[in-house]
């Protein structure tokens, strides 16, 4: 990749932008700028005059960038990645990952391909990371509910902690439900019966 390429990342999510920036740096790019705020986005983009703009598909600022196609006074006219439909697989992949790119006219397609692939993989990695975080958070929530349900059962039925857990687990297995769901029912029931 050509380190002299100026790349602008438009992403409201600072963590994802940082992950992407790091990836681009590792690939040898040196001129990477992250823009988050919507205010004066166009002015900033004109100032920086980038070769590549990478934008999060969840950003409402995309429509603002589209205006740049129309302004003939701009010397370098960016074009949307989707203009070149020859590589529909990578277009699909980038939409799935949630990222889009604008590149100045004349930039070689092979060079762009690297950047885009990197973007897609980083965006996907970020989504996975978020998914894991969500799962971890849910697991923590589950643990809390299970602990409360165990406490309720131990008190109501004079069970040991292990016995209470086994009761939850067997019930879950019999009902074909998750332990956390059974635990939640126990907690809810005990609140109603309070």
């Amino acid at each position: 990749m050509d380190p002299s390429l100026k790349i602008v990342i438009v992403d409201e999510n600072p963590v994802r932008a940082a992950i992407l920036t790091e990836g681009l740096r590792e690939a040898g790019m040196t001129q990477i700028m992250h823009l988050a705020a919507t205010t004066n986005l166009l002015a900033r983009v004109y100032e920086i005059d980038p070769d590549v703009i990478l934008i999060d598909l969840e950003s409402p600022s995309r429509d603002m960038l589209e205006q740049m196609f129309q302004v003939s006074r701009i010397v370098k006219r960016p074009i949307a990645m989707f203009v070149d439909q020859s590589d529909s697989a990578s277009i699909q992949a980038s939409v799935d990952a949630g990222v889009s790119a604008y590149i100045v006219d004349g930039l070689k397609k092979e060079r762009m391909k690297h950047i885009l692939d990197l973007c897609i993989s980083r965006f996907n990695a970020f989504a996975r990371l978020e998914g894991e975080l969500d799962r971890a958070r849910n697991a923590l929530e589950d643990r809390k509910v299970i602990d409360r349900a165990k406490g309720i059962l131990m008190k109501a039925k004079a069970l040991s902690e292990e016995q209470a857990y086994i009761l939850l687990r067997t019930t879950a297995m019999n009902e074909k439900k998750k332990i956390a769901e059974i635990a939640q029912s126990v907690v809810t029931a005990s609140e109603i019966l309070k």
Binding site: T38, T39, P60, D63, E66, Q67, Q70, F82
Partner: protein, 388 residues
């Protein structure tokens, strides 16, 4: 067996027929299981629609035309057999600009010619004082809002490319930008004008129905090859939407419609805000004054849902006027072919009733200038002093 379809939309009141068709069960009744996907930008709707993630889309009418012509972006032939709305936009200005226009006006500012000429005086005064040009927001380069502002300004002698700044902003940011004085005015669809009025930061200067009696706003667009492959699906989709539009236009249903439109995942503003738009009774100033019209947003009445090739030709003429497209017979034909009243009629199983006498003779009804003639766009454009 029902067919699954995915349709992308932007949360605006003119998505009403889409939302009601799905949430009131008109699509299911046609054997269609439609998933509505809310999007944040027109570019997203277009791209996901272009590559087939969406089977159909809520598209700005000029965007559908630009897509078929291959200007500004990839060429993807698009057709529409159902119009989601006619009119529905408004021009809102800051209290300061409103006062300046009122002071410079030679007559009643609700007359768009008076306000446009007053704007020209305000612009000239600012220029003489060395002030920054006024900045106006609109939603997309290929949008009715862009052409609405340009037409109005041009009529008063203001060159929209030289004398003011026109910037694209996402509709939800318009209000914020007007409040922070990054914008002096904007043209946008409902409910955003009303939001600005309620916050006391803007005045509705004009309903765009005061500029043009009849301007197609959004289309229910499908890709031309998709339409050719699935004529039956398209007919069912159009029928479901015709029923939805009828349901929306029946005044007795208005409370229910407002509730459907403001449900989670749909437009998410207060039902009262939507109601103003559908009733055409809008608060136009922070002091609570109200202006009414029976033409604010036509969802299905007065033939609004039947796509009109004259409207497509008119938008193409605006693109030519402002230098977005060259003038050619082929492009004109391609633009007209976007609107397919024949497919609307086929879905309906009958020829639609002729338009009522309230509708403009040339199909558009501009507030100034000669009647629009789709067969003589060069002659029509020659009538404008300001053009590219």
């Amino acid at each position: 067996m029902s067919t699954r379809l995915r349709i992308g939309f932007i949360p605006l009141v003119d998505a009403a027929a889409l939302i009601v068709a799905v949430d009131k069960g008109f699509c299911v009744a046609e054997g269609l299981e439609v998933e509505l996907v809310r999007e944040i930008s027109w570019a997203n709707v277009r791209d996901k629609f272009n590559i087939g993630i969406f089977d159909a889309a809520h598209l700005l009418a000029p965007m559908a035309i630009a897509s078929s012509l291959g200007i500004g972006h990839v060429k993807v032939p698009v057709i529409s057999a159902f119009g989601l709305g006619v009119n529905g936009n408004a021009i809102t200005v800051s209290p300061a600009l409103h006062a300046a226009i009122a002071a410079a006006a030679d007559g009643d500012v609700t007359d768009p010619m008076v306000s446009a000429q007053a704007l020209a005086r305000v612009v000239a005064t600012r220029k003489a004082a060395g002030l920054e040009p006024l900045t106006f927001g609109m939603t997309f380069p290929f949008s009715s809002h862009n052409y609405d502002l340009r037409f109005w300004m041009g009529a008063g002698g203001v060159d929209p490319d030289e004398d003011v700044r026109l910037v694209v902003l996402p509709p939800p940011y318009m209000v914020e930008s007007l409040a922070s004085k990054h914008l002096d005015g904007f043209c946008v669809g409902a409910p955003w004008n009303s939001v600005a009025i309620d916050l006391g930061i803007g005045h509705i200067l004009h309903f765009t129905s005061e500029l043009f009696q009849r301007a197609a706003e959004k289309l229910l667009a499908v890709r031309a090859p998709w339409a050719a492959e699935h004529p039956d699906l398209l007919a069912r989709l159009v029928r479901a939407h015709i029923r939805a539009a009828d349901f929306i236009e029946a005044e007795a249903n208005r409370d229910e419609v407002c509730a459907l439109l403001t449900a989670p995942g749909r437009i998410e503003v207060t039902p009262e805000l939507i109601r103003r738009t559908l009733d055409g009774r809008l608060k136009v100033a922070p002091d609570g004054s109200i202006r009414s019209t029976d033409r604010y947003l036509l969802v299905g009445r007065n033939g609004a849902a039947r796509p009109d090739p004259v409207q497509a030709a008119w938008y193409y003429a605006q693109m030519v006027r402002w230098g977005q497209a060259p003038l050619s017979a082929d492009l004109l034909e391609a633009a007209r072919a976007v609107c397919r009243p024949d497919l609307y009629d086929a879905a309906l199983g009958a020829t639609a009733a002729p338009l009522p006498a309230s509708e403009p003779a040339d199909g558009v009804g501009e507030f100034t200038g000669a009647a629009f003639d789709p067969d003589d766009i060069a002659g029509y454009l020659a009538g404008f002093k300001i053009r590219r």
